[in-house]
Symmetry: C2
């Protein structure tokens, strides 16, 4: 409430609306190391005074730096800075009236409008008075220079008042009296992988000899294949001991046949629980060898953490109060009536012993982090108490500031956004269920062009082991969605080898692969000559070679004359990527794209080069409107690198 008491101190400036801010600063904005932050603030003062403002920023507990804000017009000021290391940062705005600059601008008007000499002399004395405050702050050579200006002012030299030197010095030693400061806002700075990452998800048990249960040693061999394709993260479906009670059989059958491996999401058996490794995968020793091999290859390993227990999880006996009981004393299994999941016991986050339960769950992450895992894909986080996540993640980041967490929340948008606000680094998205170019245009705008981009880092997945959307049928569709996922979003992932092997055989009732790999061992022919492995490899290489694909904020849509085509660009300085995709996987689609040459910083009337990074073909274009034609039987997308300057240079050379 505005106080009716006379304030002790006050400022002539009022700082309003500092942006970006997530929910008015309740949650941090997110950046990765080396990313920039553009801050704007509305700052008003009375009258026409010259407002000066600076942005103060720095790591929490570290040295605060500052950068001067520039005036954009309409009482809006802007400043930019780059974040350094991983950890929390803060930023805030300080604003004050620059008394000397205010005086100077009025004085200039006096000179320009031909004021009398006596008046100018009198005003110069006023200016000298203001300058003396700067003298008091200055030291060394600057102090001497300022003192000389004071003398010139006092002598009545109007030209002295308008020299660049006095302007600079007065600004440097501005007494900044009565400055206002905004409340500090927070930034969560993560490492670049939190923003820019390619995920490859696979079932480690499907890496053995045909018909045999693969081990993490087999999976370690698979890492080379994954590395060859250029992925950053090898993500393992859960590796914990699998329960035997109510074990699911092939195709989600409620009863497993003897020898069936069960779902790795039914976690825990007499062999251990969430912090143990399934014996059939080779136990903890095999896991450690797997991690060592990943490290050799420079691959990150992501574990899939599903916070629930099979009836055989040791905690069921040790901590029955961590689960909800039914009135008959039995433990409540997961249900979505009429569906029953007797093989899964959810944790009761409201347990009387919640402090110990929460700590134990957090310690699951901490345990694997102690084993070198820094990336986690979290299964269904939206069905766990939201405050658990904010605490758990903040607490983990204290010890392991470099952890990256991917939220597997396919749920309502505000729930997904809330999880991102509460700390998850990345999130699954609706990418999988957007079908038309218009739907993508809308969704990309929401994700990348609004405040959502400040806290929500989307990871685009064309498929997962639980989702095979109806669009994904046939080679062209797999090609198109791969290109889209990998070039639209800085983070993307696939469920392989199903993806590169174009496994498009769908379940009769559900939008997932027929005979879901969750319930059985699969054998994949990695040497299939039709494999998309070469394309995946090329796309990942393009991602690495083009910094434009590391950010999301630069994404820009370009209109087309054919609504079966979508065109979007991403830029980073001179690196300019333009992607055009055909959404029709059956027919050639052609049309004109109208490029926003201004946004792309390309010449309006000179030729520029569009080099297709997938096919290697190169086109010389001139002007905004260009013809494109994409035959899905050849390849359903163009991934162009645009270069204007060299093209212009080439044109000049031709002209010589």
């Amino acid at each position: 409430m505005i106080s009716p008491q006379l304030p002790e101190t006050w400022s002539r400036t009022v700082i309003l609306g500092v942006r970006p801010a997530v929910d008015s600063g309740r949650f941090p904005i997110k950046r990765v190391t080396g990313e920039s932050v553009t801050v704007t603030a509305d700052i008003v003062a009375d009258g026409h005074e010259t407002v000066a403002a600076e942005l103060l920023y720095g790591p929490v507990g570290g040295k605060e730096e500052s950068v001067r804000l520039t005036f954009l017009g309409n009482d809006v000021y802007r400043g930019d800075f780059m974040v350094g290391g991983v950890g929390p940062y803060t930023y805030r705005v300080r604003a004050w009236v620059d008394m000397f600059a205010t005086w100077q601008s009025v004085f200039k008007r006096r000179v320009d409008t031909g004021s009398a000499e006596a008046e100018l002399k009198s005003e110069l004395l006023e200016g000298a008075g203001l300058l003396k405050k700067a003298v008091a702050k200055a030291k060394g050579e600057d102090k001497k220079l300022l003192q000389r200006y004071v003398k010139r002012f006092e002598k009545g030299e109007p030209e002295a008042a308008l020299e660049p030197d006095v302007t600079d010095l007065a600004r440097t030693y501005d007494p900044r009296e009565g400055a206002a400061e905004s409340e500090p806002l927070e930034i969560l700075v993560e490492r670049p992988l939190a923003q820019f990452s390619s995920w490859y998800s696979f079932f480690p048990r499907s890496t053995g000899n045909p018909g045999e249960h693969g081990t993490l040693d087999d999976a370690a061999k698979r890492l080379e294949y994954i590395k060859e394709m250029g992925f950053d993260i090898a993500y393992l479906t859960p590796i914990h001991p699998i329960g035997t009670a109510y074990r699911k059989g092939k195709d989600n059958s409620p009863t497993a046949q003897p020898g069936e491996p069960g779902s790795p999401y039914a976690i825990g058996s007499e062999d251990g629980g969430l912090s143990d490794v399934h014996p059939e995968l080779g136990g903890m020793a095999a896991f450690e060898r797997f991690m060592a091999r990943a490290k050799e290859l420079g691959l990150e390993v992501a574990l899939d953490i599903a916070l629930n227990a099979s009836p055989d999880h040791p905690w069921v006996k040790e901590h029955p109060n961590w689960f909800r009981q039914r009135p008959d004393g039995s433990i409540r299994y997961a249900e979505n009536p009429p569906k029953k999941y007797q093989d899964i016991y959810p944790f009761d986050f409201e347990s009387d012993d919640w402090q110990n339960l929460w700590t134990a769950l957090k310690d699951v992450f901490a345990f694997w982090a102690s084993k070198g895992v820094r990336v986690f894909r979290v299964d269904n986080p939206h069905t766990k108490a939201l405050p658990f996540w904010s605490w758990c993640i903040a607490s983990l980041r204290e010890e392991y500031p470099d952890i990256v967490l991917l939220s597997e929340a396919f749920t309502r948008p505000k729930q997904m956004y809330a999880l991102a606000k509460l700390g998850f680094s990345q999130s699954y998205t609706y990418f999988t269920w957007r079908y038309t170019a218009a739907e993508f245009a809308e969704y990309l705008t929401e994700l990348f062009q609004t405040d959502v981009a400040e806290f929500y880092r989307p990871s685009f997945w064309p498929n997962t082991h639980d989702i095979l959307p109806p669009y994904l049928r046939g080679r062209a569709a797999f090609q198109a969605r791969l290109v889209m996922a990998a070039t639209m979003s800085a983070s993307y992932g696939v469920y392989g080898p199903a993806y590169e092997l174009i496994d498009d055989e769908a379940h009769e009732l559900r939008e997932e692969n027929k005979n879901n790999e969750k319930y059985e061992l699969k054998t994949w022919n990695l040497d299939d000559p039709d494999s998309l492995k070469p394309l995946v490899t090329r796309v990942n290489q393009i991602r690495l070679e083009n910094p434009a694909l590391r950010n999301n904020r630069s994404l820009k849509l370009h209109p087309l004359t054919n609504d079966q085509l979508l065109a979007y660009s991403k830029t980073d300085g001179d690196n300019k990527i333009l992607v055009i995709v055909n959404f029709d996987s059956a027919n050639t689609q052609s049309g004109f794209v109208d490029l926003d040459l201004g946004a792309l910083e390309l010449p309006q009337n000179e030729p520029y080069t569009a080099e297709d990074l997938v096919t290697g073909e190169s086109y010389t274009w001139t002007g905004a409107r260009n013809y494109v034609s994409l035959d899905p039987n050849r390849f359903p997308a163009h991934v162009f690198r645009l270069s204007g300057r060299s093209a212009a240079r080439a044109a000049r050379q031709r002209a010589l």
Copy 2:
């Protein structure tokens, strides 16, 4: 920052984005007594739990009331309440998981999908357990009813679980465990005049006999004329003693001729200052008689407070340190080089003695409030320190909660908005300088359809004694702008009698009347047969008779086929006003208006009546598209009252 420490308590619900809120709750939203507040909040919880939420609201220091929020979809909840008396109010949201409702909805699904009897019985025991918590809270008959339900649950009667009574009782006595609460947000509740007001501005000294300086006793006679026209507020230009040093003459001449009255904005002479009455106006006694007469007539009086001093103001001698000195020791007058205003000394809000200066300035308002004045038009508030206003207004409202302050800030938009946020009840606007229908559509949308409407109450003035915009030439323009100002905005005002007497003779250089009344006595022929007095009277009557014109938020634009025409409606329940204005004051303009019948709650296919409240003509329209033609030589606007139901009834009667 999100804490890495285990919380002591927590809630499964997270309340995000409570709206409305001005700058995230830093400033209050504004309402007048009897107005409603619609609050929406984004509330998320884990999973698919049934979230319950309520809105808590009430006067600060008074009884807090609550209203249940309803679910709108997409995790958004809504509640409405009405504010009562004048003063600060707060509102906040409380949310929790309704455990019984969550249980009940799953139980219903079990019943619907044919669960086994044993399972239902077991689940009913669970439900009984939840219901017992309600029993513990309930009393009397409700407790007995609930106990009976518990027994029926325990007996295993599935139908008991789905009866409306148990739903209602469980909701009423919901234990509401683990509720989350949002931070309280503030409302400044003012009296209705702060929102709905018609202002009539005049120079009291121009109410005397021709050639004579009018007194406040003459002005008191003028009040009857103002009352006849139906205005709410008689607003007097400054009534204080006028300085003689550098007194301005006719047409802003830098030297006054003997006998010239001077500008009433050059405040202060040996006869007193900001808290005194100019002797030529009859002194304080005449002012008191003026106030008494206004009270008899039921008219509010607004004083025009210009916080600056003429060189003759007593404070110049008493408190020279309240003004800025020039290096030669003289007091700094107002300047906008090359313009000099030697007759005006601005106050130095940064004076070393600022506490006493601020208090003295606040006491000016308090003095006049003690004389019964509750409405102030504040001259150029944006050239005074902004924190002065927030403190001054908050402090004044403590003693005089019914004061209404109009900010005369014709300046940059964010400065105008800042003054509104800091406490001004109303503000002048850019109405005066909007010329085309398209400009109005944009401006009305910004003012009435965005968050601006939560804190900024526009007062639309077609003219002031300082502004005669180029559009205002000829009778039709004056008619059109009057209708627009009075029907677009709940608050409007005119500078009279210049307005009703269609004084459109402009200054050669400035957008103001020729021979500005600020510098001379004027004689107005109130009996001019061409006076717009009858129209003004009718328009004010329409405003009083139609509650739709009391609000701004309901304003809706309706497209037209002619861009020289503008159509907008305002509604309040069944009261529906549609205004169509011709912007061309020279030619008849015709076209089709496409009414949004849905928004107007009018029948799509039945006739409805459009009654022109100015001309008395009545039209029967059917459907959205209707033809309109406005001849400015006749009258440049329609002010329709639309009535659908009676029209529909009439149609039914005709059909019988």
